[in-house]
């Protein structure tokens, strides 16, 4: 099906784009990679009166480390994130990006677009939530920084106002030497995850976990962080023999949302399975490092 009729503007600068959004309010919709918005428009689930194409705004395509944070411009394509060279503590980003949809979609889809679209099963919002991202939002009159916990409100719903553009996502650096794993279960490669997990663990010289971030997508209205399970792991030796019981105990009362693709019981079970696999993978790399030292 074709999208409904709309007017189109492709401003060259962020200021022009913000001016158009201020003028047109809810009628306008920002188009970046278009890999979610255009299907929604074709299905007539979105019917904007004006499409503001921001892909000609050149200063939003950057990935840079600055003051201990990784700053990702809104227009960074998934394919760029997948192939960019980053220091080891950021390795989870290319792995997560590689899990987004299929290659042709990753050539067009953008980081900012995925975050602003806020699909609860999407990979990059999961990484943003797990790493405590700060979202930089700009309107014609003001700019503000919103913590990811406040940004993701519900299914496809964020704190972003109709006159604002998400210009940058800033991720605080994990500690140097962090180990990370990203796993998702999907029926076929390229599908949205049924459940996805992001896990980052740092252990000190004595083998005790002193920093940990764990997140899940596909289980709630937004991606979630598992602070209670993180708390169970931090301060304890990162011992592969105890990981399963720690995860099982912490996740015993966890109830995922369910839908026609996978019910609550299945997704809840899968969440614990993926968390255990991710943590065991990390434990495996720790053992590998230890061997190298011997």
């Amino acid at each position: 099906m074709r999208p409904g009729p709309f007017a189109y503007a492709a401003p060259d600068s962020i200021d022009e784009a913000l001016y158009l959004l201020a003028q047109h309010g809810d009628e306008a919709k920002v188009l970046a990679g278009g890999q979610s918005l255009i299907p929604l428009m074709r299905l007539r689930l979105a019917n904007p009166g004006l499409v503001v194409d921001i892909t000609r705004v050149s200063d939003l395509d950057y990935v840079r480390v600055e003051a201990g944070a990784l700053r990702i411009g809104a227009l960074v394509r998934h394919r760029k994130l997948e192939t960019v060279t980053l220091s080891p503590e950021w390795r989870i980003l290319p792995i997560a990006a590689r899990n987004v949809a299929h290659l042709p979609i990753r050539f067009r889809g953008t980081f900012g677009g995925s975050i602003a679209h806020a699909d609860p099963a999407a990979e990059l919002p999961l990484v943003a939530q797990t790493l405590g991202a700060k979202m930089h939002l700009r309107s014609r009159k003001a700019q503000r920084v919103v913590d990811c916990g406040d940004f993701f409100r519900s299914f496809f719903t964020t704190n972003l106002r109709s006159d604002e553009i998400l210009t940058e996502v800033a991720l605080q650096a994990p500690p140097s030497g962090v180990h990370s794993a990203f796993l998702e279960f999907s029926r076929r490669p390229g599908d949205f995850a049924v459940v996805a997990t992001a896990a980052l663990v740092h252990v000190d010289a004595a083998g005790v976990c002193d920093w940990c971030r764990l997140g899940l997508a596909g289980v709630a209205a937004t991606p979630i962080r598992l602070t209670s399970l993180e708390g169970e792991l931090i301060g304890q030796p990162f011992n592969p023999r105890r990981l399963d019981s720690t995860v099982d105990a912490a996740m015993a009362d966890f109830r995922s949302l369910g839908d026609v693709h996978a019910d609550t019981h299945y997704r809840s079970h899968l969440s614990a399975v993926l968390l255990k696999r991710a943590l065991h993978q990390i434990a495996g790399t720790l053992v590998g490092e230890h061997r190298k030292e011997i």
């Binding site: 189109y8 492709a10 394919r79």
Partner: protein, 181 residues
């Protein structure tokens, strides 16, 4: 700034298969629709039109993309290569020959999309491992389910193993993808 008012036609300049064109399109016209209707390049097929099937695959500034998920207006000033531009004269290209030899064509509807996909993979095979090649090949759909021939053609063409992620114990025992850092 490119801007239309309402459904007014927009002028779009494109370089398609090496020739410059100026066409007038409505904002809601996709690149694939414009290629077919305005330039009569009907090798780019339209099927699902929501980015799932890959029949409309084209190269945009060398990137492998879905022609249905890009507005024609968005492609203004860009370089487009369609399936028509990937072979010279009447001779079969290397990609087409591999597909011919390995019987990678059944009804033919998905074929142009696979030609474009395989053309991109041929040029970038050294950047990808067997699993990535398998995943990329799975991004286009053949509803005749003629995948065996397509995989054979890909392996012959790329001179690489294409790993579709199967295990001896079944396809769904392990998460399809993931990784560790």
């Amino acid at each position: 700034m490119v801007e239309s008012s309402g459904e007014a036609l927009i002028s779009v300049r494109l370089r398609v298969n090496g020739s410059d064109h100026e066409i007038r399109v409505r904002p809601r016209e996709s690149l694939a629709e414009a290629l077919r209707a305005k330039l009569k390049l009907t090798g780019t097929h339209l099927s699902c039109q929501i980015g799932v099937c890959g029949a409309c695959s084209v190269l945009l500034d060398g990137d492998l993309v879905r022609g249905c998920l890009i507005l024609a207006a968005q492609a203004s000033g860009r370089d487009v290569q369609t399936v028509e531009g990937l072979s010279q004269d009447d001779a079969l290209s290397e990609v087409q020959s591999a597909m011919h030899e390995q019987h990678a064509v059944q009804c033919g509807f998905c074929t142009p999309g696979f030609v474009v996909l395989l053309h991109w993979l041929r040029a970038h095979r050294d950047e990808m491992d067997a699993r990535e090649l398998g995943e990329a090949l799975s991004s286009n759909l053949c509803r005749c389910t003629g995948y065996a021939g397509l995989v054979r053609a890909a392996e012959a063409l790329l001179d690489r193993r294409v790993d579709l992620g199967r295990t001896d114990e079944g396809d769904h025992l392990e998460p399809a993808r993931g990784g560790i850092a």
